[in-house]
Symmetry: C2
Subunit: 466 residues, 2 copies
Amino acid sequence: MNPKEIWDHFFYPHRVAIIGASPSSEKMGYHTLKSLKGCGFKGEVFVVNPKYENILGIKSYPSLESIPGSIDLAIIVIPSKEVIEVLRECGKKGVKYVLVISAGFAESDLFEGEELQKNLKKVAEEEGIRIIGPNTFGFVNLDGHLNASFTPSFSLLKKGGVSLLSQSGGICHLIMAYAIRENIGLNKIIGLGNRVNTDFCDLLPYLVFDESTNSVALYIEGVEEPRRLLEAIRGAVKLKPIVVYKAGKSQKADEAAKSHTGSLAGPYRVYQGALKQYGAILAKDPLELISVAEALSLQNPLKGNRIAVITLVAGLGMVISDLLEENGFNLANFSKSTEKKLFDLMPPYTIRTNPVDLGYIANNKKLCGEVIKTVFEDKNVDGIILSYIYSWSEDFLELPVEAICEAISKTKKPSVMCLDTPPGIWEEEKKRLKEAGLPIFTRPDLAVRGLFGLWEYGRIRDRFRG
Amino acid sequence: MNPKEIWDHFFYPHRVAIIGASPSSEKMGYHTLKSLKGCGFKGEVFVVNPKYENILGIKSYPSLESIPGSIDLAIIVIPSKEVIEVLRECGKKGVKYVLVISAGFAESDLFEGEELQKNLKKVAEEEGIRIIGPNTFGFVNLDGHLNASFTPSFSLLKKGGVSLLSQSGGICHLIMAYAIRENIGLNKIIGLGNRVNTDFCDLLPYLVFDESTNSVALYIEGVEEPRRLLEAIRGAVKLKPIVVYKAGKSQKADEAAKSHTGSLAGPYRVYQGALKQYGAILAKDPLELISVAEALSLQNPLKGNRIAVITLVAGLGMVISDLLEENGFNLANFSKSTEKKLFDLMPPYTIRTNPVDLGYIANNKKLCGEVIKTVFEDKNVDGIILSYIYSWSEDFLELPVEAICEAISKTKKPSVMCLDTPPGIWEEEKKRLKEAGLPIFTRPDLAVRGLFGLWEYGRIRDRFRG
């Protein structure tokens, strides 16, 4: 079976049951049901809780068995001690795919937690059941309109090409808030939890097969079989870019990882070196992780490191030039014909070399567009970073959206944009640029790191394709 | 005269004239007038433009001279060639404080630009006029409800304790958008432009005297007399923290600086070393600059580097632990009594050592509050970083606002918070925490850098106070 045939059952189910759904907002089963109800899911949702006849307007069944017909995916949100019994019931009912949100297993300080997890694994094996979890917030598939998590807000995310596999649900929540604000498009977000029988190595090949995923972000604390993970990454990067943030640099973080998901984070440097060697692109923090993955989901890899900076303000051009140099890029030297064209197009007040300063022609949208197209077309330019700020008023300054879209579509050159505005400004313009494939970041450092990811993946692909 | 007596004329004027105000949105004078009209300014605004009788509902005077009575501050927004004549008129009228927004001086490629700037300087000297600019977006004083800039959106900023002196208006705009979103409170924002007779060294001592400024952020490209600037910084840091971002690390950025404001950025490393030696806190990018300044404007300096991490999610605790280690911090070892108290308060599922994980008691606001207060009071803890995420739903998870405020007010221990949420969530809670003096950042790296600024300033103050 190819990975798609197995894992699509989790991510694209038709009939989903929540065992432990609850009308009380004190319970995880309440929030999980809210997520499922509010995500636009096209399939059927069944709820199981013998204490109620009806929960949030949905008929409640006394047991899994009593639900008529088959169930594709069961979501378990009950106390840990009761999970194994329900897993047996899943087996009886023929449910092969189970998300266990419940906590209180190997991550807990209690001796029984370890014991329970061992039993969970054993029963799952006997019943032939795949489990995501336990001790996870769940997963989200924006492509399938499915929010199988205990946080309804994940449904606010825009659908896009980045999928995230994470050993921490908290990090997924941090990334959610950031991605909503920055309009970063996500596809599948999976909290692996304690990984009782589903690990990075199982889901990574699936995401490589998944047509709606363009790039994969991994948040790793530590795994038991690092070599298997590395091999999975090496296999994946030939087809899709993999960006990794490895936590656990500090000793204390290492200890926290053990308590958190029952695994040792392991020696940080060894991990970093090996991950790089096997083709992963390394991120320095979780927001960089998702930003770099976003750039890679929208743009082609860079063929070289000669970058043109086009900026509305000289100061930001300097900041970006500094960041580019720090990341090993060169500022492109424009060809003679570009130089001449820019000197003809632009007035003498302004900087007409790289970084190109649009400041004094800012309100001439047509002219700004001409400059942008000229720079994109220069044969000495491998990639472009556009940086705009919001200044004056909307009736003066307009984004040259058409010219940028045209330049991108004509040259296919990798490009990113750095842009931040007060709330409500240029929303439509930003949307159109994103649709044209331009990643937009509010932070200059993340815009440059996004570009770095494109360069890094170009080199990785060359290396692995030999 | 102390600096306050001179510079308050700029920042707290009563009667302001805009020369070059315009009804056309193609002109800077239009946007500048819009800024002045929309900022809640309590003084009188006069507009000068002989072509109109009335601009945006305000009577227009044919000349500065024709305005009855005195003018405290003149704002010039006309073509560069006409500026000198108007400056003479300012002299005649007795206007001693002039903001020149107009560009087309030494920053321009034209020979006449250099010439014009020399003349501007000469005439200003003859007339005894202080100029901010030319070639600047202007300045903003949120404490005085004055937006003397060509961008009305600056008035959307919240008033706070951070003042920003910048050699780039573009960077001020970048920071504006970020600060509006992150709710960072600013006080005075000044674009120095070409610094014809007002430089960092003139305004830095003013901001140290200014009661409404708690910390100062400097964006520096390069200055002609670095030693004077360094001495000004050394004088200032005894009283208030100074955070600096120095641009121009790359050679290209250096060249861009020359074209931008007519100055050489100078050797980056020499600057960095000297700035540090003279007591500045160095930032790595403009958003870090303003974030660190925000932390310093709200919190006391740290007395040591033993930090407690209190987190809603273990993963974020790990990320923060890693960042703390990178920044030279130690995770505090709790005292025996704190250890015991936490073991009594919290269930065994959860991490009860540092970093403390509130995950499994998240919905028990009272208990979370007890844990937070216990950690703040530990004598082995010098500072605290709180990190929350938004999870579940609002009817389940509440921020323990009262307990955090109580802990801060009782212990006065330096603390910062890392928190991001989907839009519209916990707005009131965040506001109350900020009012209690807790800096809140959405990015874990900037939260840690904010804490680093508090530690750095503690050491600087010890060093300089001897």
